[in-house]
């Protein structure tokens, strides 16, 4: 465990303040999603077997065996920080069944789930070394009850950063946080020791002992989220062959970020938004509007800025995260 005494809790709160705006979007199709499927077409890669998993009525059907669960890991994509959203239609029949989103899945014996049951109960569980641990069970007033009711589950996972020891650099924390939303309303968040490299994600459903339950999934999406951009950075770049250095601060501002560059005694202010793995910032410089875009590089960012003074040429720039 690195960084005893780190500010993980504070950073977790910071992380989820940024998450809040997403609730308004619900499962609205995110154009920046890494994975999204409305199941209007068959998707052979998901491995439909015609029994436990199949496509019907423009929906995905999950029908586990009696007293069993059925996992649908989405192939090929492994994520640490991400936003997942799915809409589930409850089955007819007994309520001893559940379905939801699976995340941070290392293998069949190690995974997390956020699931709902038709009676309005909500469960967050962890399977560790093949043993299930219930992290939370509660009834949710936001839940729509009964056969055919459609409910939306959203899970957001974030990796934290922390400063440790006397080092002047931030590092990845061993801890991560996840938050769960039901029908657009916050339900819970937890700070846990997540798999270091994240894991696969997907869907999970369970049947009770009296009847095989058929859950329908109307849509499912996953958007990769880089580390939270809020922080202080040492910035460096080059304009016309001349290098420069300075400081950049990024602070949350509603559903966006306030960005301030301080370079050679000059200050530039802008507004940034996080879209998938791209952090885009609009700012003004000498009365002209400019644009910057960055991609994550570990806990840092690298990208480019437009520069009206150099015509259509862009300026390469690197941000190195610093302690606050």
């Amino acid at each position: 465990m690195k960084g005893a005494g780190c500010g993980c809790v504070l950073l977790a709160l910071l992380a989820f303040a940024a998450v809040t705006p997403h609730t308004a979007l619900a499962c609205q199709a995110d154009p920046f999603a890494l994975f999204r499927d409305d199941f209007s077409r068959s998707n052979a890669e998901l491995g439909p077997d015609g029994d436990h998993l199949y496509f019907a009525d423009g929906q995905l059907a999950l029908k586990p065996d009696l007293n069993n669960g059925w996992r649908l890991p989405i192939p090929r994509f492994k994520l640490l920080g991400a936003s997942y959203c799915a809409e589930f239609k409850s089955p007819t029949g007994p309520a001893d069944t559940s379905a939801g989103i699976m995340f941070w899945m290392v293998d069949a014996a190690n995974l997390f789930t956020a699931m709902i049951s038709p009676d309005g109960t909500f469960h967050v569980s962890r399977k560790k070394d093949n043993t299930w641990q219930t992290l939370l069970t509660r009834a949710s007033p936001k839940f729509k009850i009964g056969p055919g009711a459609v409910n939306e589950i959203k899970v957001i996972t974030k990796k934290l950063v922390e400063v440790f020891g006397a080092a002047s650099r931030y590092s990845l924390s061993d801890n991560s946080v996840f938050a769960v939303y039901l029908n657009g309303q916050f339900v819970t968040d937890m700070d846990v020791l997540a798999p270091k490299d994240g894991g696969f994600f997907g869907l999970f459903a369970e049947s009770g002992g009296s009847q095989r339950s058929e859950w329908r999934v109307l849509n499912f999406s996953a958007t990769a989220l880089p580390l939270e951009p809020s922080g202080i950075y040492k910035v460096s770049g080059s304009v016309g062959g001349s290098g420069y250095e300075g400081k950049v601060t990024v602070d949350e501002a509603g559903d966006a970020y306030a960005v301030v560059w301080s370079i050679n005694g000059k200050s530039m202010k802008g507004t940034g938004v996080l879209r998938g793995a791209t952090f885009a910032v609009a700012y003004e410089n000498a009365g002209k509007v400019e644009l910057a875009t960055y991609a994550p590089s570990g806990i840092d960012w690298s990208g480019k800025r437009t520069n009206s003074e150099t015509g259509g040429q862009v300026v390469a720039e690197t941000w190195l995260r610093q302690p606050r």
Partner: protein
């Protein structure tokens, strides 16, 4: 939902127009292509090895070992959303237990996708993931395909986020959901040999059009308001002009893979717009000042 349906309808119309024009031209390159090769002169872009893949008689030849496969990628050609077109001639031998065609979304030698045709008049879509094959669309007979030894067919595939559309000799053969790798991958060609001899596949024209090109004119909808947008390239950046409610606003944009961002100022407030490529243009969010962001759809004219 209605917007999505409308967009799909327009996409279908656009697709028909593209195919109709395309059928007349074959896979010969038109203006605006991202990559093109008629193989009249060898180029260093193709990773040929001179044995299993080489240039001959104005064609790219694939000649795998018996019961083997060969793939050739175009070096440094990574794309996610694009339209690929190639003309491919089947081997001269009468065997039909083989296939050849397009390779796309290649991240390394063990991970790529293929859209293939066979000498028996079938097509298939397969994925190689960590060196293991998965069939995404099984071998299916298609009446528009030419079959038999030396049959020439045109493969045209559009990859867009999680949607692949396949046209064969100008006719739509398949539309299916397949998740793209996060940043797409390289493209190229793929061929198989029959069990007992080395088969020879011949690739003639090959061209690629990236769909992540923002330059153009668009009809725009944002929060129930209709308008227009135009984008023109300025070096490494783009000039963007929105015209909404009779007012024009100018901004500056940049392209990062499949994401197009633009900054603008209006009414003394700074705005930021981010879009990703869609079936018909671009979709994304616009945020002005401290106001909540609006979803915006661009439909290419």
């Amino acid at each position: 939902m209605d917007l999505v349906r409308l967009a799909r309808g327009l996409a279908a119309c656009f697709g028909i127009q593209v195919v109709a024009a395309h059928a007349a031209f074959g896979c010969a390159a038109n203006a605006g292509v991202t990559f093109k090769d008629d193989f009249k002169a060898p180029t260093s872009r193709w990773a040929v090895d001179g044995n299993h893949s080489y240039f001959a008689n104005g064609q790219l030849v694939l000649k795998p070992e018996p019961n083997g496969t060969t793939s050739v990628n175009v070096k440094e050609s990574s794309l996610k959303s694009a339209t690929f077109c190639l003309d491919i001639k089947s081997p001269a031998d009468p065997n039909t237990d083989l296939a050849g065609g397009l390779m796309f979304w290649r991240t390394d030698t063990s991970n790529y996708f293929t859209a293939l045709v066979g000498p028996d008049g079938t097509f298939a879509v397969r994925m190689l993931a960590n060196n293991a094959w998965t069939t995404l669309a099984p071998a299916t007979k298609f009446a528009k395909l030419n079959s038999g030894p030396n049959a020439t067919n045109e493969i045209r595939a559009t990859t867009l986020n999680n949607l692949i559309t396949l046209y064969l000799n100008g006719a739509k053969a398949l539309e299916t959901s397949i998740q793209a790798p996060a940043t797409g991958g390289e493209f190229g060609v793929y061929g198989e040999s029959t069990r007992d001899k080395r088969s020879e596949w011949y690739i003639r024209d090959f061209n690629v059009v990236s769909l992540a090109n923002p330059t153009g004119q668009y009809n725009v909808t944002r929060g129930g308001v209709a308008g227009a947008a135009s984008v023109e390239r300025r070096g490494e950046t783009f000039r963007v002009v929105w015209t909404m409610n009779g007012r024009s606003v100018e901004g500056v944009g940049m392209l990062d893979g499949d994401i197009f961002s633009a900054a603008f100022v209006t009414g003394g407030e700074i705005g930021i717009a981010t879009y990703t490529v869609s079936e018909t243009g671009w979709n994304g969010f616009v945020r002005l000042g401290a106001a909540a962001q609006d979803m915006e759809h661009w439909i290419r004219r």
